[in-house]
């Protein structure tokens, strides 16, 4: 009995067990650090985000303010803001907004989209993409063209719609 206890908890066992514990600690830490190593901290990528001014600057409706510079429309409804990527889902041309008809029309092959982005006519296969939109700390709208969504049901919430009563 004494010999058994000795064998399991004696000084030799303690030295061994402590030694292995340190070893596994080192190994685990080293492995995790290597995995963390593979996540870059700095990126050499062009920015897909832009600040679009304060919400007060936008009346209800479609704003073409950023269409040329950023290829995006900012649309304000009575419920809030969303941002459409001005790229036709057919072959990638830039549609135009027609206020009087209330639709976006692509000049290349005639696709028509309504303000939420659904296809009304023409060969476009999918609705227009919405970009992620949120408010920054200094109260400006921040558009992220790297995050896109166009599925009905998902595009009206989360990061793709900024609620703000008019």
């Amino acid at each position: 009995m004494q010999a058994n206890l000795e064998a399991r908890f004696g000084r030799r066992q303690f030295l061994l067990k402590a030694g292995w514990a340190f070893f596994y600690l080192f190994l685990g830490g080293w492995l995790l650090s290597n995995i963390r190593f593979l996540f870059p901290n700095v990126l050499y990528e062009p920015s897909l985000t832009f600040k679009a001014g304060k919400p007060e600057e936008y009346p209800l409706g479609v704003s073409e303010k950023w269409k040329k510079a950023q290829r995006a429309w900012i649309i304000r409804t009575s419920e809030g803001f969303y941002c459409l990527w001005a790229r036709c889902t057919h072959l990638g041309c830039t549609p135009n907004w027609f206020e009087a008809e209330g639709r976006f029309k692509c000049p290349c092959h005639g696709s028509n989209f309504n303000p939420p982005g659904d296809v009304l006519a023409g060969p476009a296969p999918k609705p227009l993409w919405r970009c992620a939109i949120r408010l920054t700390e200094d109260g400006q709208l921040l558009i992220d063209k790297g995050r896109l969504e166009n599925r009905p049901g998902l595009r009206e919430k989360g990061e793709f719609f900024l609620p703000m009563k008019a």
């Binding site: 996540f39 050499y44 072959l91 092959h109 659904d118 060969p123 599925r151 049901g153 998902l154």
Partner: protein, 600 residues
């Protein structure tokens, strides 16, 4: 005179220090040739005569290994002229084609050897399965092999990006998007952990950034040239060692010397593979499209052929299912095979086949191991059918084009697809999976003691028949009676039946609709009941037919193994079922909960 020189050469000390045996053909030297050579001594010295019959292994494992060597050699040579940056990569590939001696041939050989290796590795897996060479004691080696299959596909995937042309960029984009859809650790997958963002999810890890650019190219280059080949080589050592240690799977009859009999055949196989590769590489050019352009997406943009089956699955399932869950389950399922197949028979020979019939349809079925062989081959065939569809039958906007049809970018076809109401879809899924529940012997005994010797069989029939009816009800009742939630905003018809009945892409529903239109609305209920009855009986009948086999499997395997086998089997058939439901019935999702980003 040459003989004289040769004789003297062989007497020198230098020669004798390298070659410790002479080259006469005696049993002793034959032994020494294999035993005393580091490359050859992986082989045993003598081997069963059946092991050199080509129609047993077809040399597929060896050919795969040889192709790996070809890829390493051609790859190293190509590395001398290739720089993995977005500015230089495309130009370097062009230079190899136009300005480097033998460059075009080497690049072609590398490309075609890679595709050939994927094919031979899959065929090797099929061969090992059919000859039962995964059964104990070879289970571990099978698992190692499955992991090597995954690594082969990953090597091919990472290599695909390196030319940096449109094909590369967008094929990799499709794959990286699947990484983003991984559950838990992907930014767009379900059950996402709260701290996961596009800046630290699985796609970010794979691609080294948020877009596919220089970081991704360098990462894939390192993975492709060093990291994965290194790990693959370690697995290869274990795999070959295990082949040797577990002994060859066909041990009948006499033994023959490895040198010369096996080695000569290996040499011939390598020779002919090289011939085929050469001819192929001279005749067919490896493709190279325009320079990668992140602003222009080709339409359609397809993954390489071995992944285009998964891309086709994306039509029927959400990305996290088609791209992550299903492939994961396939790999898990493959690895499980040796541990759930408790039948010790069938090792060392192909299963005997016979002609049988399923009703009027003639079938060529295996006599031994029918469940194992049929299910596995069904899976393989399904995989290649999906590849065929994705490769030849999908055009711009991933629309259906028959292989002989010309692709048109002016075609507009709006598919009408409807979701089943969640409760009905849930009922359908539940009753489908419940078909797999076994009736254990204990319960059968209790039934027999209560109701007589026929009771268990009747209970089983009622069980399966009942579930079949429930499935038919769960599918047909909502299809015919449920209202269309898209009406009137996005649909012209108030019911699902009317909407799908007018849709060209739901032939079965359209046929039903036209039938009821012609017969008159009074016939609606009788037709519906008739269909439910027939459909239920067919589905339930299938369950009834295999009920005894199912219960027996449960008794043999025990609960856990049975659950795994039946679960994976039902999932595989469920994939097929969902494809049928979508293509023939116009059903999009059985359960749809957009709030949770969960759609099945």
């Amino acid at each position: 005179m040459i003989n004289f020189a040769k004789q003297n050469l062989k007497k020198t000390k230098i020669w004798k220090s390298i070659f410790r045996h002479d080259f006469t053909d005696t049993p002793r030297t034959r032994l020494q040739r294999v035993f005393g050579n580091v490359f050859l001594h992986l082989h045993p010295v003598r081997i069963p005569k059946d092991a050199i019959r080509i129609v047993y292994t077809w040399g597929l494992g060896g050919i795969s290994f040889y192709l790996f060597l070809v890829l390493v050699v051609t790859g190293i040579l190509l590395m001398f002229y290739y720089r993995p940056t977005t500015i230089h990569a495309y130009q370097d590939i062009k230079d190899l084609a136009y300005a480097v001696t033998l460059g075009r041939l080497l690049r072609n050989m590398h490309r075609w050897a890679a595709h050939l290796m994927v094919v031979t590795v899959i065929l090797h897996m099929v061969r090992v399965f059919l000859t039962g060479a995964y059964k104990p004691p070879r289970e571990y080696n099978w698992v190692v092999g499955v992991l090597m299959l995954v690594m082969t596909l990953f090597l091919s995937y990472t290599g695909y990006l390196l030319p940096w042309d449109q094909l590369a960029l967008w094929a990799v984009t499709v794959g990286a998007q699947m990484a983003a859809n991984t559950p838990v650790v992907g930014n767009e997958g379900p059950f996402r952990l709260p701290f996961i963002t596009p800046g630290n999810d699985a796609k970010f890890f794979l691609v080294g950034g948020t877009i596919i650019s220089d970081n991704a190219l360098l990462r894939f280059y390192v993975l492709h040239c060093i990291a994965v080949p290194f790990i693959f080589s370690i697995f290869l050592c274990v795999h070959l060692w295990r082949v040797r240690k577990d002994t060859f799977s066909r041990q009948t009859g006499e033994k023959v010397d490895v040198w010369p009999h096996l080695v000569s055949r290996e040499f011939l196989a390598a020779l002919w593979v090289t011939v085929v590769l050469f001819v192929w590489s001279i005749a067919l050019q490896a493709p190279l499209e325009e320079l990668a352009n992140i602003n222009v997406t080709p339409n359609p943009s397809k993954a390489p052929w071995y992944f285009v089956g998964l891309q086709e699955l994306l039509v029927y399932f959400d990305p996290w299912i088609a791209g992550v869950a299903l492939p994961g389950l396939i790999i898990f399922g493959l690895m499980c095979i040796p541990y759930v197949d408790l039948n010790p028979k069938g090792v060392g020979s192909y299963p005997r086949m016979q002609w049988s019939r399923a009703g009027p349809i003639p079938l060529w079925t295996p006599v031994e191991r029918p469940f194992a062989v049929n299910v596995f081959m069904f899976g393989i065939v399904l995989w290649f059918v999906l590849i065929f569809i994705g490769y030849y039958c999908r055009g711009p906007n991933w629309e259906w084009y028959w292989p002989w049809e010309e692709w048109s970018h002016r075609r507009i076809s709006k598919l009408t697809l409807k979701n089943l109401p969640n409760l009905w879809g849930g009922l359908l899924l539940a009753s489908y999976f419940l078909q797999g529940v076994p009736i254990p012997n204990t319960i059968k005994q209790r039934l027999a003691s209560r109701g007589g010797p026929q009771a268990p069989a009747i209970a089983s029939r009622l069980f399966h028949g009942g579930l079949g009816l429930v499935m038919a009800v769960a599918l047909l009742v909502p299809l015919i009676t449920a209202p269309d939630p898209d009406y009137p905003a996005r649909s012209r018809y108030p019911t699902l039946f009317a909407a799908l009945g007018h849709a060209k892409n739901a032939p079965v529903v359209m046929g039903l609709y036209n039938l009821i239109e012609r017969l008159g609305p009074a016939w609606g209920l009788p037709v519906l009941s008739g269909l439910i009855g027939v459909g239920g009986l067919i589905v339930g009948g299938m369950g009834m037919k295999f009920a005894r086999f199912k219960d027996r499997m449960y008794e043999e395997l025990g609960l856990i193994k049975y659950a795994m086998v039946m679960g994976l089997f039902l999932l595989m058939m469920g994939v097929l079922g969902k494809i049928v439901l979508r293509l023939l019935f116009g059903v999009k999702y059985l359960i749809s909960m957009p709030a949770f980003n969960f759609n099945i």
